[in-house]
Amino acid sequence: MKLVIKNLEKKFGTKEVLKDINFEFESGKIYGLLGRNGAGKTTLFNCLNEDLEIDNGSFFIEDKDTRKVEASDIGYVLSTPVVPEFLTGREFLKFFIDINKDKITDLKSIDEYFDLIKLDVSDRDKLMKDYSHGMKNKMQMLVNIIANPSILLLDEPLTSFDVVVAEEMKELLKKTKKNRILIFSTHILELALDLCDEIVVLNNGILERVSKSNLNNAKFKEKIINVLKGEEDA
């Protein structure tokens, strides 16, 4: 399966944030999306999730045949996690599972899901208004993983996790990448190099792959930074 983006454009007023995005994302891979502040990473995600209307171009899923990206195809973890704060973690999960019963393939028990994200037993029945930033983030991630979407967009997901949890989440992401496209934006270069199969840079409204070819890590890093700076041939 592939996610194909063709000539995607997005303007805010006269400001062209996404100019001419052409890209094919393949399933089974984790893509690290890098870009300077304000480059348009969040905007790209919002477009793919149809939170924003695009000005031009198209994107679709190419499997045996091509089809539109449906709501159930996409999971989107926002950079600032939002959860319904009047519910407990358990209630939120129950609600989510209730209404998505027919879409979830290998249904587990709620506690098994909690175990997956290593949420403390004592926190599971607390109202989410008392959750920490990282805990909310975990819940949001979990909800997006349970439904088993074929495309998972993660906007700076690991920044609020402590070191241990970040490692666990990395493992979780690696586990879930099978048969699915994972795109995650980050500002942490090491993380991108460590976790991702492909590095993609968004610069001046254009998305391009930075191939590692036969460079070692240090050289590769240098190359990425140069691309980010906009000096490709340096």
Binding site: I74, Y76, V82, I99
Partner: protein
């Protein structure tokens, strides 16, 4: 200092204008005409300066003219100007403690001192100087134009007013040093003392002239001299006061500021909204899916959801019972009471407009639920959205039914006590009130789903929503004035409520999946 002052003027200018553009750009159709670059247009900058100059002139002259007119011209007729001078002085003493500028936590100060980190002292003194000049010019003009006080006395009075402010500020400095607490002129330490002082000084200002007591001239002169000397002494400590920065750091906190559009206010609001969530751990629900979700929302927010319904119900009950008792005591009014009820049903529509709790309920829904849930795509799916809409509509109708039932019961009882009517009239009145209640519930929720008036920052900033609300209000107001028998009106109302509800439900089903999202 002048430089500082100009900067603060410019910043104030900029945010007033930006707010204006932002609001205009959110009106449908017209908003589309405004290009994004608008904020940059030179032409607009000039207009903005003109707007804020006009705003400042209104502030300086308009308010002072109004003040003098309301407090010195209206209450008196045919008194000697000495009585006016005397009243003015008492008012000035009161005013100097209530309005010092320095102890007033304003939005401007927040922008300048906290956000822009301007030097507290020079900004404060600059702004204070501007304030004093405003009083000087504005009050002087107002006194000369509106009262019979000769210009030289007016001049003296204005100077004394300013001196009194200096003294008041100095007094507050002293109080702060003593108590270690920050003084906020809008939040007195003791409301009792505050109200008492207000009553005493208003009493002196207005009571003495009515009793024909005029304080002898020489006492007034002594008083003026003392104030003048104390005022002059106070100037120095205002200028040299070293702790303005500390003062404002404490004064400009979120509890004191009446801010309308930024993060602090938002955080304050979020935390108050979160506080409304019941932490009672015994709350659970046996339902599933949306019903489960909605059920928990309602149970955990039952306090705020029920609050106003309970209040109005009690209010209606009490007023109704009092009216019934009155009709027993004074039977001669029965005839007219009966007539009123049979002819003024339209007025009840207006009443129901105010009784309906739709707005506070949708507010809670947005703040504590939709604001976060709308960022989940599954939540925005038409099916999901509409299932939840149904649940919410049921709840809202039920919530509003309580006061509506009480009201129709009370009106029917009064009708019965005051002489009765045909059975069909009872039925029509009863059901038309119910239909009004349902109409408003539907109306409020539908407006919320179709116009979704909040932005991501949780501010209610939608021109179309404001316009729709104004139209609703205006229509209800207009209808409440027409003369038609309750029977006719009731039947029309019932029919209208049914048709309106059907149409708006269809609209929600067609449009809400597109319109109900974060902006």
């Amino acid at each position: 200092m002048l430089n500082n002052f100009l900067i603060s003027f410019k910043v104030k200018n900029a945010y007033i204008v930006n707010e204006l553009i932002y609001n205009i750009s959110r009106i449908p159709l017209i908003g589309k005409l405004i290009p994004n670059k608008f904020y940059k247009y030179k032409f607009f900058k000039i207009i903005s300066i003109i707007i804020s100059i006009i705003y400042n002139i209104i502030k300086i002259f308009g308010f002072k003219l109004l003040y003098i007119y309301c407090f010195l011209v209206l209450p008196f007729n045919n008194v000697s100007y000495f009585a006016l001078i005397q009243a003015f002085l008492f008012l000035a003493i009161l005013g100097s403690f209530i309005n010092t500028e320095i102890f007033n936590p304003t939005k401007d100060k927040y922008y300048m001192l906290i956000l822009m980190k301007m030097d507290a002292k020079s900004h404060t003194i600059g702004a204070f100087l501007y304030f004093i000049c405003g009083i000087f010019i504005g009050e002087l003009v107002a006194l000369i134009l509106l009262t019979s006080i000769p210009w030289y006395y007016s001049l003296l009075l204005v100077i004394l007013t300013i001196m009194l402010k200096f003294i008041a500020i100095n007094f507050y400095f002293y109080r702060m040093k003593k108590s270690g607490k920050v003084i906020n002129e809008n939040k007195p330490e003791s409301w009792l003392l505050y109200s008492l002082l207000i009553i005493i000084f208003l009493g002196l200002a207005y009571g003495l002239p009515y009793l024909n007591i005029i304080i002898p001239k020489f006492i007034l002169w002594i008083f003026a001299s003392i104030i003048f000397i104390l005022g002059l002494i106070s100037i120095k400590s205002i200028i040299t006061y070293p702790n303005y920065a500390k003062l404002y750091k404490k004064l400009l906190n979120k509890d004191n500021l009446f801010l309308d559009n930024f993060a602090i206010q938002r955080n304050a609001q979020i935390s108050t909204n979160l506080k409304q969530i019941s932490v009672d751990t015994s709350i659970t629900s046996e339902k599933s899916g949306f019903q489960y979700f909605h059920d928990l929302f309602v149970k955990r927010h039952s306090k705020i959801l029920l609050k106003s319904a309970k209040k109005t119900t009690t209010g209606i009950l009490i007023i109704g019972i009092i009216l019934i008792i009155l009709l027993y005591i004074f039977p001669e009014f029965k005839g007219s009471a009966n007539k009123i009820i049979l002819n003024y049903l339209p007025f009840v529509l207006f009443l129901m407009y105010f009784i309906n709790t739709g707005k506070s309920v949708t507010n809670a829904m947005f703040m504590n639920c939709d604001h976060s849930m709308l960022s989940y795509r599954f939540f925005r799916q038409p099916q999901t959205l509409l299932s939840l809409f149904r649940e919410r509509l049921k709840t809202l109708i039920l919530l509003n039914l309580l006061p509506a039932l009480t009201l129709s019961l009370m009106i029917s009882l009064i009708l019965f006590v005051s002489g009765g009517a045909s059975l069909i009239t009872y039925a029509v009145i009863f059901f038309s009130i119910l239909s009004m209640s349902i109409f408003f519930s539907v109306h409020n929720l539908v407006l919320y789903y179709l116009l979704q008036p909040y932005n991501i920052g949780m501010e209610m900033k939608s021109a179309s929503f404001t316009i729709a609300s104004l139209i609703t209000y205006w229509v209800c107001y207009y209808i409440s004035d027409i003369e038609v028998s309750s029977l006719t009106f009731g039947i029309i109302m019932i029919a209208f409520a049914i048709v309106y509800s059907l149409i708006s439900l269809i609209l929600v089903y067609k449009l809400a999946p597109k319109t109900f999202r974060l902006r």
